[in-house]
Subunit: 317 residues, 2 copies
DNA sequence: TAAAAATACTCCATAGGTATTTTAT
DNA sequence: ATAAAATACCTATGGAGTATTTTTA
């Protein structure tokens, strides 16, 4: 029988396709890794890699086995996590992924207090588009992901956290400036500045436009909410900003005005996701409770399991 | 990090709750296993077992981790199987489970020829009720199960093989003896001898009774089809027998008559099941094709994946 | 010739064994 | 007193290292 170590080498080599770099990643010497891979191939009685003239490539069978090896290592890591989580809850590394349009404006409210409450916790936060975050979560590279819906959460589990209103941002002096509440038809004909493709928020805003008769401002696409705000301040046009961003960054900007919509407000739903096999669900739920207890104004807390939440495209594997 | 060997010891000890027997099962000495379990506990930083006064018991956390360890070992075994299956297809051990009312009457047609075609295959056949077979399949103790529906196949995958007609068996001279085809109402008021609880066939026959106005013969429950046939021969009453049993065992019995039903014939559906993670699906499909090519008369071949087959209660995990 | 993988060898950590002690019924 | 687990100690396998050779672009 092979060992978990063999599987680790296999995965490292299948990732890097270089004995040298795989050995580095595993913190062993290149000959060690060479020998162990050869030994694994001998044990299994099959060829996993083709080493041909300066090129290392996976055989189809090697690819399949490397994929399964990843699963075995992930499950082993889960066992370690479960043990550590039981002996010292909320200690050790916790890898949290969050979308870029939310993290910097929500987490400051929460993380410093959370770290204080759990000093042994080492919290790694990573920003990425929602789709990539859930992929990384499935791969086991993340423990936890905070994303906005809709996103394909097949094979994942989680909680709905809150709904964040979307507000209109216009330059000072804009015809809509001064309105207390926007109605369904206030946006008709407006050209809205938007984020570039890949952001979930863009999708949400496009849907909003559709319903309210507005359209995308062609020719400009922003890469961040800050850019978007500066474009509004430069009087290029109005845009839609999420409430937490406005509260954190744009509330005292005297060049733009932000206006809420009348009910039913457009909003985006923010959820917290983890793998169902994860060993640290209790910790994740505590983290969720921590967030919910410290939610800034303007957002509407929710707190129900995602299993029972009707999300199109959700289906167990 | 622990090793797969540690996990094997953990699973063995959690199964036996005795260091001595667990060591035996692992083919190591008792001190070796003692030391390794202690080491695993030290590595994980938690207590897995309570050793108290002649009693070894799992802690709750130990139970959870042992369960996960089983999964890791199963996945590792799958990798081994995949490799062996690729290098020498249809070689090595193949553990097949089959229900008792089918195995002895179908497999003789198939197995000797299958063994001849694949001499390196070591085929272990085990008989059990369908429910236990699918449980063993999920545990990884079986590679393949041949059962009749309905059975809960959640989390499993497979093929529908064939539909086997159910025939009425009556003592010679019974009023129904001599009829060519039974109609829907032929059985009205009849008291049918049945198998004891737990057999899928019993369930199928009960459903049949319901539809045809017959009832169960109270006071007698047989434990095998052979017993059932002898009871019919002893003129205790009529019964329902599956066609393959009749063809194999009861065709030349001059004390009983077997009579088929008019269309739509009552029948039971026989399926072949495996774990979706199994490494040997190709071999299983070949086995299925082998069976289908050698099906005895009277049964109706089917051959479609079970995923698309509407079976109540089927739901992915 | 330079860079990468394979080979040769040496060493040591550790899993495994046997013998023995401890503990609990 | 007996049976089971723990401890002590020794052995040997194999995983890891360094040094070197082979291979190919």
């Amino acid at each position: 029988m092979f060992t978990l170590r063999h599987l680790g080498y296999l995965v490292a080599l299948s990732d890097t396709l270089s004995f040298r770099r795989a050995a580095e990643r595993c913190h062993v010497s290149q000959p060690t890794l060479s020998v162990q891979i050869r030994e694994l191939e001998a044990h299994l009685g099959i060829q996993l890699f083709e080493r041909t003239r300066r090129r290392v490539t996976l055989t189809p069978l090697g690819r399949e086995i490397a994929e399964r090896a990843r699963g075995v290592l992930r499950a082993s890591q889960d066992i370690m996590d479960l043990a550590r989580s039981a002996s010292r809850p909320l200690a050790g590394p916790l890898r949290l992924g969050v979308i870029a349009t939310l993290g910097p404006y929500l987490l400051p409210y929460v993380l410093s207090a959370f770290r204080e409450a759990h000093p042994d916790l080492r919290l790694y936060v990573r920003e990425d588009p929602a789709r990539r975050l859930v992929d990384r979560l499935r791969e086991g590279e993340l423990d936890l992901a905070m994303v906005d819906m809709p996103v394909d959460i097949e094979g994942l589990e989680g909680l709905s956290l809150f709904r964040e209103p979307l507000w209109l941002a216009v330059p000072r002096g804009h015809p809509l400036d001064g309105q207390r509440r926007l109605t369904h038809s206030s946006l008709r004909g407006l050209e809205l500045l938007m984020l570039e493709d890949g952001h979930c928020l863009r999708t949400a805003v496009l849907k909003l436009c559709d319903g309210m008769g507005a359209r995308e401002h062609t020719g400009f696409q922003a890469t961040s909410l800050d850019t978007l705000r500066q474009m509004v301040a430069s009087r290029i046009g109005p845009t839609i900003l999420p409430a937490l961003y406005v509260a954190a960054e744009a509330a005292d900007d005297d060049q733009i005005s932000t206006i809420a919509f009348a009910d039913p407000q457009p909003e985006r739903q923010v959820v917290l996701l983890w793998r169902p096999q994860s060993a640290r669900k209790d910790e994740f739920r505590e983290f969720a409770a921590f967030i919910l207890a410290r939610l800034p104004a303007h957002v509407t807390a929710e707190n129900h399991p995602l299993e029972n939440h009707p999300i199109p495209g959700q289906r167990p594997p």
